[in-house]
Chain length 214, copies 2
Amino acid sequence: MTSKRRLGVETAKNRSRLIDAAVELMVEEGYAAVTARKVAAKAGLKVQLVYYYFKDMDDLILAVVKRNSVKRMKRFVRTLAGPDPLRAIWVMNRDSTSAASTTELLALANHRETIRSEVVRAAKEFRHLQIEAVEQLLGDYGLDREKVPPAAVVTIIAALSRAMAQDSALGVDEGYPEAVALVERGLDWLVQQGDGGAGGGDSVPREVPGLDES
Amino acid sequence: MTSKRRLGVETAKNRSRLIDAAVELMVEEGYAAVTARKVAAKAGLKVQLVYYYFKDMDDLILAVVKRNSVKRMKRFVRTLAGPDPLRAIWVMNRDSTSAASTTELLALANHRETIRSEVVRAAKEFRHLQIEAVEQLLGDYGLDREKVPPAAVVTIIAALSRAMAQDSALGVDEGYPEAVALVERGLDWLVQQGDGGAGGGDSVPREVPGLDES
DNA sequence: GTCTATACTTCGATAGAC
DNA sequence: GTCTATCGAAGTATAGAC
């Protein structure tokens, strides 16, 4: 009813190519460069195909966001399966391959409602899952939730990771080595609480965490 | 030599208005909306004045970035003058009035070289000054730099602040109350080391910082 | 599904009169 | 310093033939 033009299948090969092209463009040149013409050119297709597969440009961007969310969730589930999930979460967050597109998506979400709601939805879901996982872990370690709130740990780790990814993309690394070292110390300590000095093997306990009296 | 067109004074009233308009547009609609026509319209001026005062659009954006840096530096210097500079730095970083433009500028810096170098320059300078200030403070408090590295403290605080500002702009606050509380606890503890339980008065020491054994 | 053709808008940027 | 006039390039989106 709403639109005269009516077509566009979901699992088509060219549709996927257009999304790929859009992601590349966003990373390389920024969201402003994601135009129908450029996307089509990068995908080796004609402009009109963009409008055949997507309602409009917002619809294309939305597809990019969703693909992004799905990929990240899959990685997260895989990550949790391994040993030392706490540090795995940290490393996963630190991974900066998707840092560039995250920055762009964040900026985009501020100004386009459809994008915003999807970004927010995915972010909340992801955050909750991480908190839940860490709650479980710290519980297993027998740690007091009051002293080491899982939500705080996850949030600080995520914040530091994102900032580091954003800054290193620009070539700014001032302070990060020290910050990372401090977090690592904290994680060492947390994990050490867990295996009680028996299981792991190569975990080097060292001392107390970061902010302790001298 | 390079350009035929040659004019544009630095301290003109209309020049400043154009920068104002550019900032507003960037915050409200994103950097892609900062076009010569829209900026002029928002400033109530004719399009051509944009090109009279600025070499090109990049030049305008650059002016926005510089104004931003200067403003932030001034706030920082003011901030350091007061009592409890450590917490003042934290509060200042948390301030989210400029969060929106920061997100945009960050995204922009990834793709435009002239913007990037200025953003990076300002970021590094600012970070160094903060680290220096905190080093001084923690030194006064008689704290061991190995246990509480100033660079790590500043970086984590800045990272958490930025992430929180970005997320709250979108309406995501999951985990932040807990993270903020943890940081506050840490700051309480640090400051407490400083005034030895004498000076301040209303500072409630409570206990040890965040990541301590139970 | 894909292409041709096309309408309309907005953009950056400049030349030159006043 | 500001305005009129003007380019050409690039953008979104649609209609309709094949």
